[in-house]
Amino acid sequence: MIKVSRKGIVGNGIETIKNLTNLLSSKNYRGSVIFMAEPTNDQRKMLEDICPTKALFSIKENNTMGLDNGKCIMCGYCSEAAPKTIEISNKPAIPAKMRNQMIDYSSPQTLSSKKSYEQIGNELKEKIQKMFGRSLAIRQVDAGSCNGCEIEIAALNNPIYDIERFGMRFVASPRHADVLLVTGPASRNMEIALLRTYEATPSPKIVIAVGACACSGGIFSDTYATTGGIDKVVPVDVYIPGCPPRPELLLQGLLLAVNRLKPENKKQI
């Protein structure tokens, strides 16, 4: 928990966090699913059936399993069914630029970013200055999310995460935006609106899909009312997994996004 002086909420000085690594998440936070052992044949079938979003899948060729972090909603059903094979780690899965980079395999993986929040932020600041001058304008678009991701995105604005200190700001119109932060499985009723928002955003622009729904449709999958992921509607530059992703992870996603911009795009500004 955050240490606060007991003067109370009024006059308690700076609440904004500098270093997030030591309080990144509590020990039972459901951050990501990791394989602890190779699943047996029976387990593979059982795990495939039990996973509600089909994030766990068998690989027939070498009798192993894959986990698509872009589909996983951290329900933990798999680790309850096979506690020795699968564990829930409190480290969140990391954002990726390509959809297939989000897949883990049942051979042990090391996934952690040791960067502190401040480091990530500063790194981000440099890149943004190169690409967009001094600031990055973000436009959030809800394309049918359950509003869980909105809570976390809105948290970036609170005094604790305070995204504005890194030169990033949420703007009111896509015409002012460099980045579109899109949530939800892209409902059919929002498809046209999302497309028009994308077209209204000036180039160079970045689209970030936030949350399992935006990456793959998540639990809402691909039905008559959804399109099964933001990338079915507009090109996506970065995928941020999670249900919902933590605010720290959103910041990391933004960093990846800016890195992706090619230098020649700068001339268009």
């Binding site: 928990m1 955050i2 606060v4 109370g8 909420i9 009024v10 609440e15 998440s25 509590s26 039972n28 936070y29 459901r30 509600p52 909603i73 951290m74 329900c75 933990g76 059903y77 829930i88 959030q140 678009v141 809800d142 394309a143 049918g144 999310s145 359950c146 509003n147 869980g148 991701c149 909105e150 809570i151 976390e152 995105i153 809105a154 948290a155 604005n157 609170n158 005094p159 604790i160 949420f170 009111a172 119109s173 939800g184 499985p185 409902s187 059919r188 009723n189 929002m190 609106a193 639990i219 809402f220 999958s221 691909d222 039905t223 008559y224 009312a225 959804t226 249900c243 919902p244 933590r246």
Partner: protein, 536 residues
Amino acid sequence: MNNTNLENYTKEITNKFSNKITKTYQNNNELHLNVELNDIPKICDYVYKNLNARLATIICSDERKNIGGFVIRYVFEKDGVFIFIVVSTGQNLSFPSIALHIPSATLYEREIKDMFGLIPAGNPDARPLVLHEHWPDEVFPLRKEFELETKTKRQEKEYPFLRVQGEGICEIPVGPVHAGIIEPAHFRFSVLGENIINLETRLFYTHKGMEKLAESMRLDEVLLLSERISGDESVANSSAFCQAIENIAQVEIPKRAKKIRTIFGELERIYNHVGTLAGVSADTSFPFGSARLNILKERLMRLNESISGSRILFGVNRIGGVRCDITAEHKKLILETLNEISGDFDKIIIILKSKSSFMDRLRGTGTISKKIAYDLGTVGIVARCVGIDVDARRDHPYGSYYLHNHKTPQELMQHQIEMEKRTGDALTRFEIRVQEVQDSFDIIRESLDLENDFLFTSIPERLEPFRSSLGWAESHRGQTLHWVMIGENNSIFRYKIRTASFCNWPVIEQAVLNDIVPDFPLVNKSLDLSYSGNDL
């Protein structure tokens, strides 16, 4: 107590309509009355006006294979009893509308028309509701023959908004992509100068087909789906779903589980109310208040995380009980954090109340009248802010709320007087929210002495097909009501979700009248409506 009420209502309605009711049966606290199609308006009108029962929801289901027709269930609630007026449409593809008698039925009937293709004869509003204009005619998603994955071809059409015409009147279209970090909807303002003459809301942009999706899922998957009806109401909605299944299976969950559900329900209420108060403060351009309250919200979300593993309390419930325990260590953490937060919360509220510019902005803004709130069938804070005393925690106790409902006659009297004083503006809603946060602190503290029994009880392997039940909970927005009918092989035959937001959305069109356009965000925030919970 409920049983005597149940008997009384059975007698009263059957005496009045003895020759019209074809079948009567009881299911827990539900009274089911089967009637003929043409008698619907008369009987519903009687139940609504003479018994003073509230229309809770209208449920349609496609039971053509079983009984040869669509079945519509009109659900009224009164004194802890749910009165179901059940009718089968047979070969008909239309049913008589009750919207002219009961205004809140309008939206339910339009929803049935979109999803099942049944025409509500006599409903004055023939426009589509859930499915937008791109959706082809004659395709109805909740009919059984419709495949979940069907991709329909888009068609070009325009939605007819109500036109207000006259000298100096102009239209302001807003959305579906808004200026802030909020969910999508379209608002069409007609303004004269700065005053709002008319507002029309167009929702259902986030429609994800949840009710249809549930029919293809296992029960434990539907539980995950129910948590995601509206992310910030996850505990309330999943509790309601679990209760519906537990009622069907006729199991009682352990006492420890009941208390844990109560604690998580109240933790959810606190963090959301604090967030809404922060939003109200931001919308009055008072960033100090919103910044301080947002700090508290973040601390509460971290508390959520340390106990449940999710910042917004996903994965708390399971059918038959709860998934996460509250250990002695958690108990200590909850008590410490809440003590700290309740002190800080009171300090901020004192500051907010002392700022005249803040209070003036709220006073008299977004006022709704008691009659309108009643006619539109509002629930939760939106109803309580005009003195309509509804609260599912007290009216239909679930979890361990029966432990917290005891009031002395004097307290009851004071409560009644307090209710009469409420004026229905943004300030009243602000004050009620503050009060509810403080009440929630108390409820959690009282609930923390957990029994030493189990976290969950097992439910029968196979549930009896075509049994049905309601489940309910009071989220921070108000009553959420879920109706589940089990199909063959433990599948879901029909899952009807009605959240508080569905009842409360229509009121915003009335609340903003004669206010100025810049007040709209404030009114919207003070009503605190979920878009996803409405659109499903």
